[in-house]
């Protein structure tokens, strides 16, 4: 347990310091949201309607951008080999690393959502709905993305491949995240149904992600 806690603390510290790149994700998120009014026009009513979708897309792309940091840096300096060889089960280690990555790179996105919601003319209910769905959905993005990151790190040149492999798996999360936030803002549908499916997706990925990532690390690194 102490080994996992130490690993989480180390990963968060590396991610938040200079060159760690976790907060670049927030900056990228901001840039995507700022670009949207230029693309669709500064019509505030339209932006309100598109708001949840824009925020979700921005968060999805930002979390994809930071994903290759998950194993790449450790692979480059050799600590990934030590982690694989250590006595802690690799599945648990993978889960701990993903948790640290989500705390350092995913949580800031959710904290930034209310501010970005202001730019898109979302009211308080809409912003809190989007933030809540992001809170429930981004763990799924991190934990399924971890599978792609583990595959990519064992392939040496898997950077672009990571996006191709991970994006199809994240489509269900996007669908239910956006439909839950839309339901909270406008829809006649209830917020609960898509939101609970979103939570279920997160829980399933919490189970499958560490096992698949650990398997691909174990098979991929010689």
């Amino acid at each position: 347990m102490t080994a996992l806690a130490a690993l989480i603390r180390r990963d968060i510290r590396i991610a938040l310091r200079v060159g760690g790149g976790a907060l670049i994700g927030v900056l990228f998120f901001l840039t995507v949201v700022v670009l949207m009014p230029f693309a669709v026009g500064p019509d505030l009513a339209l932006l309100t309607r598109l708001g949840p979708a824009i925020l979700w897309l921005g968060a999805l792309l930002a979390s994809l951008l930071t994903l290759d940091r998950l194993f790449m840096a450790d692979h480059e300096d050799g600590s990934l080999d030590l982690i694989v060889m250590s006595r802690t089960p690799l599945e648990l280690t993978c889960a701990a690393k993903a948790l640290a990555h989500w705390l350092a790179a995913g949580l800031p996105l959710i904290v930034a959502t209310p501010v970005l919601g202001l730019l898109l003319n979302l009211d308080a209910t809409a912003t809190s709905a989007v933030a809540l769905t992001l809170l429930a959905g981004t763990p799924a993005l991190t934990f399924t993305g971890m599978i792609g990151a583990a595959l990519a790190v064992t392939l040496h040149r898997g950077g672009l491949l990571l996006a191709v492999l991970v994006l199809p798996l994240s489509i269900p999360v996007l669908i239910f995240g956006v439909s839950a936030s839309q339901a909270a803002i406008t829809g006649p549908l209830s917020f609960g149904t898509p939101f609970s499916i979103l939570c279920a997706l997160s829980l399933v990925s919490l189970v499958i992600g560490p096992f698949a990532a650990a398997a691909s690390l174990r098979h991929g690194l010689d």
Partner: protein, 243 residues
């Protein structure tokens, strides 16, 4: 002849060399019979003659999922039993499955235009099959990204098993979400909803397409084994020359 005996690539090659011509001939005959029966099938009272697209569309759609199932079994063979032909089977199946999925999407949208008035609709079944197609392409890209075939096999096997989660979503998408695509009518609780005049040609076409897959798959596996032999011969030659 058991599954273990087939693990020897040479035995596999001699066996398939004997079986393949018969299999190909049987496939051709069944395809001809199925196409003839499909052409002779009566027009639907609602859909007119466009219903005949079904005889091509439905087998393609079934095969697109079936091939991923075969690849998932092969992935288990790679990861659990270390069967030496399992990764050859998985690699050979991916492009064939992608082709079936692509054909299912194309014939579906050609059928959708006269029936629904649109080539494409973002409905649950269509979208999940499109995701399946994207996953096939990602898997093929993964196979090509790694030079060493056995390492590529293990990476691809893990991705195949993760992607298999999409199969039940596709199968039940028409029951869970009430959208444009019609619900299941052949394989469903309480028997088929299809008339015999349509059911028999459809089943013949389904068997013919499955045999087509088996034939193409075995041929592609032979090619892959031979390609690997050429590769190892080249590497042996290179190492002898450098020594």
């Amino acid at each position: 002849m058991t599954l273990i005996d087939l693990a020897n690539p040479t035995k596999f090659l001699t066996l398939t060399a004997r079986v393949l011509p018969w299999l190909a001939a049987l496939t051709a005959v069944l395809l001809l019979v199925g196409l003839y029966q499909s052409a002779m099938a009566p027009d639907d009272y609602q859909q007119g003659s466009t219903v005949k697209i079904m005889f091509v569309h439905v087998p393609n759609a079934w095969l697109s999922m079936f091939v991923w199932g075969v690849m998932s079994l092969a992935a288990l063979g790679t990861l659990v039993w270390r069967h030496p032909l399992a990764d050859v089977a998985a690699k050979a199946a991916a492009p064939i499955g992608a082709a079936f999925t692509f054909l299912a999407l194309v014939t579906g949208s050609l059928w959708g235009r006269p029936m629904w008035g649109t080539y494409w609709e973002w409905d649950a079944r269509l979208t999940s099959v499109l995701i399946l197609f994207l996953m096939y392409l990602g898997l093929i890209a993964l196979w090509r990204a790694v030079e060493d075939p056995s390492r590529a096999a293990r990476a691809a096997a893990i991705l195949t098993l993760v992607g298999a989660l999409n199969l039940p979503i596709i199968k039940f998408s028409v029951d869970w979400w009430n959208t444009l695509h019609q619900p299941a009518s052949v394989m469903r609780m309480g028997g088929t909803a299809l008339d015999r005049a349509f059911l028999i040609p459809l089943l013949v076409m389904a068997v013919a397409f499955s045999l087509l897959f088996v034939t193409l798959h075995l041929a592609a596996m032979r090619n892959e084994i031979l390609r690997r032999r050429v590769r190892s011969l080249q590497m042996m030659q290179a190492s002898q020359r450098s020594a």
